[in-house]
């Protein structure tokens, strides 16, 4: 018996059984299959959005208001001008409110609150807010600003509801980034005799800026796609208007009301509006990711 034969016999017991190999390759195939399954909806959604949405896009689609005519095939149903402008106005005002407050809370948590009892409570409630269903923010604003004041729907009320929705997202995202700013950097600035507020404004915030912009943009993108908080706060209207004290249209609400229409042309307008909305949100996402790539932290 030569050496080769001998060691062959000895090593035989280490061989991997066919059953184990099969299990391994089956499991790999299942994981790959599940990943492909996960991506199928994305492909289908993008495909149908493009096919249906681009079909309904035209120059007048963006330059006319919806007419409110949802029944008669003969007359024009109009476009989505008021919805696009409304979304931009409402989200801009919401951002103007939520970003400074959210940022302020995050700065307080990291620079002043730290691990105090109050800071822990604030963190807990911010987390609670993150999980609150978006429609409840609409109800909240309704209770406070519509039941409470006896007035009616208005664009700024929609903005407030969206601001409440954005607030926890902005706070948590920027808090995480601010915590990444090295403590040594703060101490170096403090050791130079700079007062705390200058250290925050001149050292901490600029260092964290790219990361914070990313978090903020993702929050804005999320708010722009929300329908539920706007239903009972900004409501819907047909006309373009620039007065946030009035009823105001928005893309998600326009899509939502068009979906329920029995008229094909109106449903097609919903596809066109959906494509416009998704394009806006994707643009914000892409910008956010590009900026985050430039961040020096993390």
């Amino acid at each position: 018996m030569n050496a080769g034969r001998a060691s062959g016999d000895r090593l035989e017991r280490f061989a991997v059984t066919p059953a184990r190999k099969r299990r391994d390759s089956t499991a790999r195939a299942v994981m790959l299959g599940a990943t492909i399954i996960a991506l199928i909806p994305l492909v289908l959604i993008v495909y149908y959005l493009l096919r249906k949405g681009l079909g309904s896009w035209s120059s007048s689609f963006f330059t006319t208001d919806p007419t409110g005519n949802t029944f008669f095939k003969s007359s024009s149903i109009g476009g989505i001008k008021s919805a696009i402008l409304g979304t931009i106005e409402i989200v801009a005002l919401a951002s103007a409110m939520a970003i400074p407050v959210g940022l302020g809370v995050a700065v307080w948590l990291v620079e002043y609150g730290k691990d105090s009892r109050l800071a822990q409570a604030v963190r807990f409630f911010v987390d609670v807010l993150t999980g609150v269903p978006s429609i409840l923010f609409g109800l909240f604003i309704y209770i406070v600003l519509i039941v409470g004041t006896g007035s009616s729907y208005a664009g700024y009320k929609g903005s407030l509801a969206l601001a409440l929705l954005m607030l926890p997202v902005v706070t948590r995202a920027t808090e995480v980034i601010l915590q990444l700013v090295p403590g040594a950097l703060r101490e170096a600035a403090l050791a130079l005799g700079a007062p705390r507020w200058r250290v925050i404004l001149r050292v901490v915030l600029p260092t964290a800026l790219p990361g914070m912009i990313t978090g903020v943009l993702l929050a804005v993108a999320r708010a722009a796609g929300e329908t539920a908080p706007l239903l009972f706060t900004a409501a819907a209207t047909l006309k373009t208007n620039f007065n946030l004290g009035q009823f105001m249209n928005s893309l998600p609400v326009q899509i939502y009301s068009d979906v329920t229409s029995p008229t094909t042309a109106v449903v097609n307008r919903a596809w066109g509006a959906a494509l416009a909305l998704v394009a806006m949100i994707l643009l914000l996402n892409v910008i956010a990711r590009l900026i985050s790539r430039r961040s020096r932290l993390a």
Binding site: A3, G4, S7, R10, L11, R13, F14, T17, R20
Partner: protein, 307 residues
């Protein structure tokens, strides 16, 4: 030395009958066991001596022109080295000399690092573990490994840690216990843990954890055990226990140990290899390497001039 039979080797063996393999394995755990009830006798035989390490002839490992890379960086450049069966070979050298990379090439753990690859041959007896027909999983079963930091599975009990490797291959659950016990005895841990086999392995002390990891690799009865600085995270007393264990285990397996501690190499190794900058400078009986090194660089290193 290459086998004349093209089908010999781990890769092609799973098609062969497995019945005699099981018999063989049982025998190796407890030689002298009666054919009638091998498991019962295994327990009895293991119980007789606290450190039951039954001698057997192991298999040697030979490196032929082994080169290892991380991307474009060459960490091991063209090493020929023999690890003799049933001996302890220590690999010493300053940090970054490639000794850990070298030992990770032997059971092909090196290739788990992204961008890492190896060239050349690693012969386990007459089988090239890098041959394309060889299954890397079988290689790692035949060549066990003990890592720098004790790494018992934190979610498993002491018993399950030792049984983890056994469970992979054996369908039968019933006879795990004697094998686990035998492995724990071989690792000199049985007396310390026999009362708490169901407690988590992470609850043991560092030295006990490392012996648990040794028991874990012994349980699958490998031919070779690689140890990558197994005592670097341990205190001197725990280190001593591991060293005693290594001394006993070499009756059963071939051991390759990487160490940065020259005293340790002197204490446990039959032969010692000295590496520098990815090259093998010198290999020989430990006594000679430490007293009469042939190469001046070896002498400088072992006398503490650098490293």
């Amino acid at each position: 030395m290459r086998s004349p039979r093209p089908s010999s080797g781990v890769a092609d063996l799973e098609s062969d009958s497995r019945s005699d393999t099981d018999e063989q394995r049982r025998e190796r755990i407890a030689p002298g066991a009666g054919a009638s009830s091998p498991t019962a006798t295994a327990t009895a035989a293991a119980a007789a001596t606290s450190a039951a390490v039954e001698p057997q002839a192991g298999l040697g490992v030979r490196l032929e022109q082994l080169r290892a890379f991380y991307g474009d960086l060459e960490a091991v450049s063209g090493i020929d080295l023999d690890f003799r069966a049933n001996e302890v070979t220590a690999i010493i050298g300053p940090s970054g000399c490639g000794k850990s990379t070298l030992i990770r090439c032997i059971n092909r753990m090196h290739e788990e690092i992204p961008g890492a690859r190896a060239q050349g041959r690693v012969m386990l007896d007459d089988l090239d573990v890098y041959s394309p027909s060889v299954d890397v999983v079988a290689v790692r079963r035949a060549i066990g490994m003990v890592f720098q930091k004790p790494n018992p599975f934190p979610t498993m009990s002491i018993f399950n840690n030792v049984a983890a490797g056994l469970r992979l291959s054996s369908g039968r659950r019933g006879d795990l216990r004697p094998k686990v016990e035998a492995a724990l005895r071989s690792a000199g841990l049985w007396d310390e843990v026999s009362e708490r086999l169901d407690e988590p392995g992470a609850g043991l002390s560092g030295g006990q954890q490392q012996r648990l990891c040794i028991a874990r690799s012994l349980a699958v009865d490998p031919e070779v055990i690689l140890m990558d600085e197994p005592c670097s995270a341990l205190d001197p007393i725990a280190t001593l226990k591991i060293e005693e264990l290594i001394d006993r285990l070499k009756a059963r397996v071939t051991i390759v140990i990487v160490t940065h501690n020259m005293q340790q190499a002197a204490r446990v190794a039959d032969r010692t290899a000295f590496m520098l900058d990815g090259r093998l400078i010198e290999v020989g009986p430990t006594h000679e390497i430490f007293t009469r090194p042939a190469d001046p660089r070896t002498e400088e290193y072992v006398t503490g001039k650098f490293g």
